[in-house]
């Protein structure tokens, strides 16, 4: 059933702002095939509120999906916020009465999320040297958070992740010697198990809102949250696919490993060896390569028609160009 989001927002305005509250602006920002993001504002007797609606527009099965439900996302954002994490402020989790399906509302924050701008816009020149350290600090508050009881979070470790992506890779039928070698190498270098923690799961430049003066404003996009090795979140932000043309700056294209690790340790995080971060970074390149292959397959198999998909298939070679260097350097 098609949901009339604008009508839903009008109804929501009264629920959040009281009788007489009106929607003054509403527009869809972005989103993929299954997720929508709307920016809207409500004018209430108590004042103007600028908000974000995040809603799912396609059926979802939490048992089989890789991502968590939006209610789980909201609960994790609230739990990490209570623990001091820099995250959005959840204003409302939608229920059946709202008629918006699976959705929640956040307070709109101001800042930049485009990775390329963080990496190269002169506006960020002054704050950029502090960002890797701030990212390390931000992760401590997330990793220390005990997830609220009852949430369905998947647990992942290095071996499970390699198994998962090797299975996906085999199913594509592609034969790529560099990906093969990366699988074999990483299997031989799986780090010793550590006590698992809550992970953001998609902690990279592009999913973090930054302010040109203050640095990290909020860690966004929690749909891949899970339980696992804290170094996984660090390795993902160091994966070159998210450095936006500055491979010389390992952390997100803006900072160095040492600052990320120092920020983490100084904020009270458990000591993490660089080789552990590099394991997850290399696995990050491999994972992104396999994901690019599957995006091409969705076109080949007629699931999606966009010209974008086969072209993403030609980005596998980006991850291969990264992987051969990582294989040469070692962890």
């Amino acid at each position: 059933m098609e949901v009339d989001v604008r009508a839903g927002l009008e109804k929501l305005a009264e629920r959040l702002g009281g009788q007489g509250a009106k929607v003054t602006e509403a527009g869809r920002l972005s989103g993929g095939a299954s997720m929508e993001t709307w920016a809207f504002a409500i004018e209430a007797p108590t004042g103007l509120e600028r908000l974000i609606l995040r809603r799912r527009s396609a059926p979802f099965d939490e048992e089989t999906a890789r991502s968590v439900s939006l209610a789980t996302e909201a609960a994790l954002i609230q739990a990490t916020a209570a623990n001091g994490a820099r995250v959005p402020t959840v204003r409302h989790v939608c229920d059946a009465a709202d008629g918006l399906g699976e959705a929640y509302v956040m307070v709109r924050a101001d800042g930049e999320t485009l990775g390329k701008k963080i990496v190269s816009d002169p506006r960020f020149d002054a704050v950029r040297p502090q960002l890797a350290r701030q990212c390390g600090e931000s992760l401590v508050a997330i990793h220390r958070t005990v997830p609220p009881p009852g949430l369905k979070l998947k647990a992942v470790d290095g071996v499970a992740e390699l198994d998962r992506y090797e299975e996906v890779y085999r199913a594509t039928g592609a034969e790529r010697p560099i990906l093969e070698l990366a699988f074999q190498y990483l299997r031989k270098h799986v780090p010793a198990p550590v006590e698992p923690t809550l992970l953001h799961g998609d902690f990279r430049n592009g999913n973090i809102m930054f302010d040109a003066e203050k640095g990290v404003v909020a860690v966004l996009d929690w749909e891949l949250a899970h339980i696992g090795d804290p170094a996984e979140d660090m390795g993902w932000i160091c994966t070159n696919s998210w450095r936006f043309g500055r491979p010389d700056r390992a952390v997100g294209g803006f900072g160095d490993y040492a600052d990320l690790l120092a920020g983490y340790a100084d904020a009270g995080g458990r000591a993490i060896e660089l080789s552990r971060v590099r394991f997850w970074q290399m696995l990050g390149s491999l994972r992104w390569g396999v994901m690019c292959l599957t995006m091409y397959l969705s076109w080949r198999d007629g699931i999606t028609k966009s010209v974008e998909r086969p072209m993403i298939g030609r980005r596998v070679s980006e991850t291969e160009a990264d992987l051969v260097v990582l294989l040469e350097e070692g962890l």
């Binding site: 190269s120 034969e175 790529r176 010697p177 560099i178 093969e180 070698l181 699988f183 074999q184 190498y185 070159n240 043309g245 500055r246 491979p247 010389d248 700056r249 966009s306 010209v307 974008e308 086969p310 072209m311 030609r314 980005r315 070679s317 980006e318 291969e320 160009a321 990264d322 992987l323 051969v324 260097v325 990582l326 294989l327 040469e328 350097e329």
Partner: protein, 124 residues
């Protein structure tokens, strides 16, 4: 093949036309048109640079595997022997051959991508 025009020139002419009409399109189609133009640029590079890249890959793989063969056959065998653990990152010549293959392929697929280990731009 005939030369007036060459295949890559045909492809290039379509790419230039897409770039020309892009400003008249709505944002979604303008984005897809840019992707389409990039796809044609990749096709043009594959036509001009692909044969040399493939010859280098065949030579590199044959060197590692110790016998001659076609691209698909050598590539499949290389994958199988890496998967079995017979060839590893320590195998002499393997990483060097794979590095050449990766560099040649990225030059066709995404020449503006800056892989791991690339020095910072001269004028960032």
């Amino acid at each position: 093949m005939i030369t007036h025009p060459r295949t890559e020139e045909l492809v290039e002419s379509v790419r230039l036309w897409i770039d020309e009409i892009r400003p008249t399109l709505d944002p979604r189609n303008a984005f897809l048109a840019r992707v389409a133009a990039n796809a044609l640029a990749t096709v043009a590079r594959e036509i001009t640079e692909g044969p040399a890249a493939e010859a280098a890959a065949v030579a590199g793989m044959a060197g590692v595997l110790g016998h001659e063969g076609g691209y698909a056959e050598l590539n499949a065998e290389l994958c199988a022997r890496i998967r079995s653990g017979e060839l590893t990152a320590e195998t002499p010549g393997l990483l060097a051959a794979l590095t050449t293959m990766a560099r040649d392929q990225i030059a066709i697929d995404q020449p503006s991508y800056r892989p791991e280990g690339t020095a910072p731009p001269a004028h960032p």
